[in-house]
Symmetry: C2
Subunit: 191 residues, 2 copies
DNA sequence: GCACGAATGTAGCGCTTGCTACAAGTCTTT
DNA sequence: AAAGACTTGTAGCAAGCGCTACATTCGTGC
């Protein structure tokens, strides 16, 4: 029952260890997926023991919730870096830029993980659903901010773009990138 | 090493057993997901033993491949039943009808399974990827056939509709149906 | 009627799962 | 220096995993 989540002392040593563990575990999960996210492999990746993971995080569910939050942040930061700044010149360019950025190979590990999160969310797991919804909201906000300045309904347009891009990513995942490409090209010229 | 996949004798008893097993296992997987698709639960659902499943299907991978094929067929048939026949009157109606049909509650079990399949496919599992691609192709064909008669580019329009609908379904899965609804409404009025 | 292969039950192997009991270290506080 | 809290290693539990060895039953062809 003793874990140090409420340890806020000045030394800061314990929170640092926690962060280091989370960083290492996040890297492991990105590479190997949720199905290999059991205590012993995670502990090995973090350079510690399953015993210590339970000690630090309480139980596996709490660990996964925290790890998911960490990964959501990491994903957000990766997006911030990959996505263009400012505003698009047209709706078509907005769609194109965002699709191009998020479908790039550097996001493949995140997307592979993403679909596992969606699968869990779809099965009713509230931890994953909450995390996933938060990521979508954040992404939607980003798309909205990238909408061209003259856009009459930036929120609606962003929702449209997001839905298309996510559909395209799913088609990528199952090897139907041709369909995704055609759909996006059509949507871009239509705008 | 003895299994009867090549047993084509007239009695037909063995293939029947195989079909019955697949039917029962498919129902179980639809209800409980892939994560509960290990040999013992599957065997229990099929009224037999893990020992017999291995005997009949060789190993788990072969079993899952066959089960996935069975489920893809079942999904197709469910779609055939749920989707309207004939042709839509407009692109907007086409999108609306297909979204309404495939987002209905009767497809929730299929969709929960679908995202698990997508997750596996995205991680590089070829069995799942092949199965998923086949389902997408079939669905795309269906959408194309439902396009209004006057449509200049039915194939392209169908790809567009499919991408939007799949994006909407993903947003449903993570509890963002509001975004999906708005995106579809916008796409429908735009058409 | 008997022999042979197909079909099936029982038991178990080696491995991984989340988690715990117990003991021993280390570090801080008094 | 003693005491207590924090931290960690070792060993293990009960359950589940895919799969197999062995023995038995069953139906059919000679």
């Amino acid at each position: 029952m003793t874990n140090q989540s409420d340890n806020l002392d000045v030394s800061g040593r314990v929170p640092l260890d926690r962060q280091a563990m989370l960083r290492a575990m996040a890297a492991h999960v990105l590479q190997h997926g949720l199905s290999d996210a059991s205590l012993r492999p995670l502990a090995k990746a973090a350079g510690t023991s399953d015993r210590m993971l339970i000690y630090h995080f309480g139980n596996k569910e709490a660990l996964m919730a925290e790890l998911l939050g960490y990964l959501a942040n990491a994903y957000s930061e990766a997006l911030d870096e990959a996505l263009p700044t400012g505003r698009a010149d047209s709706r078509g360019e907005c769609l194109y830029s965002i699709a191009a950025a998020t479908r790039g190979p550097q996001f493949a590990p995140y997307l592979a993980l993403w679909w596992q999160i969606v699968a869990e969310a779809s099965r009713g797991n509230e931890t994953y659903r909450t995390s996933a919804r938060e990521i979508m909201r954040r992404l939607l906000g980003w798309v909205e901010d990238f909408m061209p300045a003259g856009e009459a309904d930036p929120a609606g347009a962003a929702q449209h773009v997001l839905t298309l891009v996510e559909g395209a990513q799913m088609l990528d995942a199952v090897g139907c990138s041709d369909i995704a490409d055609a759909a996006l090209a059509r949507a871009i010229t239509a705008d």
